[in-house]
Structures are given as structure tokens and as C-alpha cells.
Amino acid sequence: MSTSASTRGDGTTHATQTQKVGGRTFVQTKPPRRGMLLTILAWVVGILFFFPVLWMVLVSFRAETDAASNPPVLFAPVSLEGYRTFFAAGPWPPLLNSMTASVVSTILVIALAFPAAYALSIRPVKKWTDVLFFFLSTKMLPIVAGILPIYLFAQATNLLDNIWLLIILYTSMNMPIAVWMLQSFLAEVPVEMLEAAQVDGAGLLTTLRQVVAPVVMPGIASAALICFIFSWNELLLARVLTSTVASTAPVFLTGFVTSQGLFLAKVCAASFVVSLPVLAAGFAAQDKLVQGLSMGAVK
């Protein structure tokens, strides 16, 4: 129905259309300018939100003297000074630590969350909703409320500044999200198909591979993406529990900033490099991002 096109679609092309619906004639009363204005407004808002990110990238490729210009200029001579300083400060160990912590904890989360989600959907335990909400409620327990005993425990067991401590903590931090997401995807596996597989005498593994996997794979991808992002971003635990050996990229970033001299290009270069994995993963999988953020409630 093209009446919808006039308001949901591009007003400039459809707005003056006359439409016959159910024998009655409708004349579109919308002025063609309105759709145009809304389009311009959408673009302006998008650019406004995007501009700080663009500015970060632009400034990161400038010499410090150009970076700190007031009034600002949109384009200045390209300089790799900021990146050179950043990479000379030894960011690779923290970046590798972040990658290790994020990737390994994400794998652990999925490995533990998948069976749990199975037991909360396909073959549910009694009171499965209570269990599901218990998982969610742990997300409401602030990390700071448990950080001191964790610190003291790590101190006593020589686990401070050990990447495995962060891996374990990130696994528990992201577990509720993954359980919720995978549960919501597994609950979509059609019962009839499971029954059919049962009747055909398919074993558990065959059923998982041929009936469950196709439905739940997108869910696993979303959960993994969001767990990766949240682990990569985490600062508080990493700052308190690591110092030199196991420190992560966000911790490195907070230490990289010095208040002396001109440093804007360096800060922007460092921020951009540290954000790059998340930006790349998020842009590459935008729809997965939405599913992940809503814990599977939005598909």
C-alpha cells in the first residue's frame, strides 16, 4: 500500500500521490518538504553523534602542534607522530592481554552457558524461570560489592597480576548475558522437530548438530560478540587486580595519559587503536549487536 510509502518512505517522491483504497479516494495532505526535512534531520543527528569519533581519528593523524589548534581546522597535514609515540610506549603486551582475556573468557562463557541454557529451555529443570532470573539478578550485584574479597583472595593465593584471574572473573561477569541469550534462542527450536528427531532415533549429538545448531548459531554469535566487547572494555577489575604483567589495554590507556606538554594526538591515537577491535567487530555484525544488547529479547 503506497500510502505507507508516503510517510514511512521518502516523502519527496510519494507525497503528492492520490491513492485508492477500498473504493475510497485519499489525497495525501503531507507537504513534500516534510519528508525531506526529516531526512536532513536524521543525517544531522547521525553526523553529530558520529563526529566525536571522526574527530578522534582526524586528530590522531596530526602533529601535536596542529592537534591543539584553536580555532579547530577540519583537515591538517597528516602525521604519524601520535601513533609512533603510542607504539613506542609498549602497548603490545596489554593489547595481547586484553585479546587473551576477552577471547578465552568468551569461549569459556559459551562452553558453560550453552549446556545451562539447554537445561533451561529444551529439557528444562523444575523452576527454570527462577534459575534464569537468578542469573539476571547477579548482573545487578555491583562489581565493587565483591571486589575487595576477590582482591584479598588473589593476594593470598598469588593470583594478583595474573591474566587467568581476569579470565575467570570476566567469564562470571558475562555468564548471565550468555545464558539469557542462548536460552532465548534455544527456546525457539521447534518442539516438533525435536520430537521428529527423537522418533527417527537420532542421538543427542545428531539432534544438537542438525536440529539445534542451525537455530542457535546466530544466538551464539551474538552472545560471543557482546561478551567479547564487555570483556575488552572492562576497567575496574583489571585496574585493581593487575599491575605490570597482566595489565589490559584499558588500564594501559589510563596510564598512558600524562598531563605534561602536548599530548592530544597521542591520546586520540591510543584511544582509537584500543577501540579498533570493538569498532570493527560491532560494525561488521550490527544486527548481532542488537540481539546481544537486548539479551536475545529482540531478534
Binding site: A5, T7, R8, D10, L38, L41, A42, V45, G46, I47, F49, F50, P52, V53, M56, N70, P72, L112, P115, A116, A119, V125, W128, D130, V131, F133, F135, L136, S137, M140, L141, P142, I143, V144, A145, G146, L148, L152, I168, S172, M175, V179, L235, V240, A249, P250, L253, V257, L264, V267, C268, A270, F272, S275, V278, L279, L289, L293, A297, V298
Partner: protein, 326 residues
């Protein structure tokens, strides 16, 4: 905290469909009661994750409760001992602690509300076909994909800096040499924090609400439009009710994350000039002042406060996720 709130929600919510009937048919005939061995078989896959989460979240909190009743400062190891309720008394009488509670509420409520309203407006803007729709959506997502510490650094130095920040630079560009050059963070620390947070969380709200808008049954809206309903009427009596659960969902998840925010406070103001929220206050008391007892008491107070909110939040969550038709 969790077991009390969950069982409560379980009682309140009462799921519309009984999952046991729908699902158990897979393996055992419907209505046959689960045998003991069967129910253990069902539990086994759940146990690793469940035990892991209980150990990792409930045990540390138990430790926090114990330490909150102790006189324990790492700078004075000899004076360790039982302190009764004195840590709690100090938390409740401490001006900084009370300020931290207030700041946490202020930052969370304003960030979530502003992001929600902006997110809804932008979602409505993007829920129409126009040239470059995909590009604008991608641009909108970008702020959420900047690592929070990096975003906080970006705002503090590249945007807010009074001498060479972009904001004052733009003021110079528009108003000329004599343009005012305010010290954004220094003169209005809380709004500066909230603005940086809103920038990151508006895309989050927008994405969830946009997904909600796109799941709207369009034929009904169309029918209303044909019957002569105004756009405003369609919005208030059809779009908003449909969006309700998405609004609740984004508010709930946004609150969970913003209430715990540490990165922005730590980076932009370092808790100065009355901007220390509870996470930062506890971090400071424990990490800098090494006062374990008082930090733990503040932690317990935070959890009790969260518990009250969580009771309502979980009830809401229950309704949301049930309506998703699972």
C-alpha cells in the same frame, strides 16, 4: 541478595504457559512426572554454570559482609578486629558517602532518561526509508563501540579541554576571538559527565527501540491512518503501547550498566568536585585509603539499595521477557 528477589519474582510473575507441558514431551510423554534420575539428568548441564556463578558472585559478597563488620585498615594491620556496626555508622554519617549515593542516583537517572528520550526520537527518525538510512544507523552506533575509557579520554581532552578542546574551538570559530572559553569539566562536572555518558548510551537505547519499532504490525497502523487517525494519535495510542516493553527493557539494561559506571568518573573528574559515585567512592576507600572495613560497609549499603531497586526491576524484567512469547 539474589535468591530472595528471584523467588519473589517467580511468585509474582506466574508464566502464562507452563514450560513443562510444552517441552517435556520431547523425551518423556507429557504429564508423566519426572522421575528422580530424570530430573538429575536435566540438572547436570545446568550445574557447572550455576555453581560457577554462585561461587564467583555470592561468595565474594559474603566476604564483603564479613569484612564490613571488621575494623580493618591495611595501613594499620595490628588493629584488625571486630568492629560491630561502627563501619556502617561511619558510612551513614560520612558526608562523602552520602554524596556518593546522591551522585549515583543523579548520574544514573539523568543518563538513562535523557538517553531514552533521545534514543526514542532518533529511532523514530531512522524508522523511515530515506537515502542513506543504513549509513546514518551505522554512524549512530559508533559512539557505543568506543571503549568507555577511550570515550572518556576523548571527551575530557579532545572535546572539553578549555584551551584546545573542540567545544571551545567551535566557540572561537563561531563567535570570534573574544568568545567565552568555559572550563566545562571544572565549572559543571556533573553535566559534563552525564553528557559524555548520554553520548555513549543513546545509541544503545536507540538500537533496542528501533528494533521494537520495526517489529510493529504495520497493517494495524495503516488501518488507523486510513480511518483518519492523526500521526500524534497513532504515536500515543499505538506506537507507544507497542514500544512499552522495549522501553522497559532498554531502561532496565541501561540502568544495570550506568549505575556501575566507573570509567567515566575515574577518567573525566577522578571523583573530584562532588562527582564521586558509589563505585568510585568504594574504589577510593578500598584502593587508596586501604580502609577495608568502611569500603565493605559501603559495598553492603550499595547492594541493599540495589536490592530494593532490583525487586522492581526483576519484576519488570519478568513481564518483558514473558511477553516476548517464550
Amino acid at each position: 541478595m539474589s535468591s530472595t528477589s528471584t523467588s519473589r519474582v517467580g511468585k509474582v510473575g506466574k508464566p502464562g504457559t507452563n514450560p513443562e507441558q510444552g517441552r517435556s514431551g520431547v523425551v518423556t510423554p507429557p504429564r508423566r512426572r519426572q522421575t528422580r534420575s530424570d530430573s538429575w539428568q536435566r540438572r547436570i548441564p545446568l550445574l557447572p554454570a550455576l555453581i560457577f556463578v554462585i561461587v564467583m558472585t555470592q561468595l565474594p559478597f559474603l566476604g564483603t559482609i564479613i569484612i564490613s563488620f571488621m575494623n580493618w585498615n591495611a595501613y594499620y594491620p595490628d588493629e584488625r578486629g571486630f568492629a560491630g556496626f561502627s563501619n556502617f555508622a561511619r558510612v551513614f554519617t560520612d558526608v562523602n558517602a552520602r554524596s556518593a549515593v546522591f551522585v549515583t542516583i543523579l548520574i544514573t537517572v539523568s543518563t538513562v532518561l535523557i538517553s531514552l528520550v533521545l534514543g526514542l526520537a532518533i529511532a523514530l527518525l531512522l524508522d523511515r526509508k530515506f537515502r542513506g538510512q543504513g549509513i546514518v544507523r551505522t554512524m549512530m552506533i559508533a559512539p557505543f563501540l568506543v571503549v568507555p575509557v577511550a570515550a572518556a579520554l576523548l571527551w575530557k581532552h579532545a572535546l572539553y579541554n578549555p584551551e584546545y578542546g573542540l567545544f571551545n574551538g567551535l566557540l572561537t570559530l563561531v563567535l570570534g576571538e573574544n568568545a567565552p572559553q568555559p572550563d566545562w569539566v571544572g565549572s559543571m562536572p556533573l553535566p559534563a559527565l552525564v553528557a559524555a555518558l548520554v553520548w555513549q548510551w543513546t545509541p544503545f537505547m536507540m538500537l533496542i527501540l528501533l528494533a521494537g519499532l520495526q517489529s510493529r504490525p504495520l497493517d494495524v497502523v495503516e488501518a488507523a491512518r486510513i480511518d483518519g487517525a492523526s500521526e500524534f494519535r497513532i504515536f500515543t495510542s499505538m506506537t507507544l503501547p507497542h514500544l512499552r516493553q522495549y522501553i522497559e527493557l532498554s531502561t532496565l539494561l541501561g540502568t544495570i550498566y550506568v549505575v556501575q559506571n566507573f570509567d567515566h568518573v575515574f577518567t573525566i573528574t577522578a571523583g573530584a568536585t562532588g562527582t564521586a559515585n558509589l563505585p568510585y567512592f568504594i574504589y577510593q576507600t578500598f584502593y587508596t585509603a586501604q580502609d577495608y572495613g568502611r569500603a565493605s560497609a559501603a559495598g553492603v549499603v550499595t547492594v541493599v539499595g540495589t536490592l530494593v531497586v532490583a525487586m522492581f526491576a526483576l519484576r519488570t524484567a519478568f513481564a518483558i521477557f514473558k511477553e516476548e512469547g517464550r
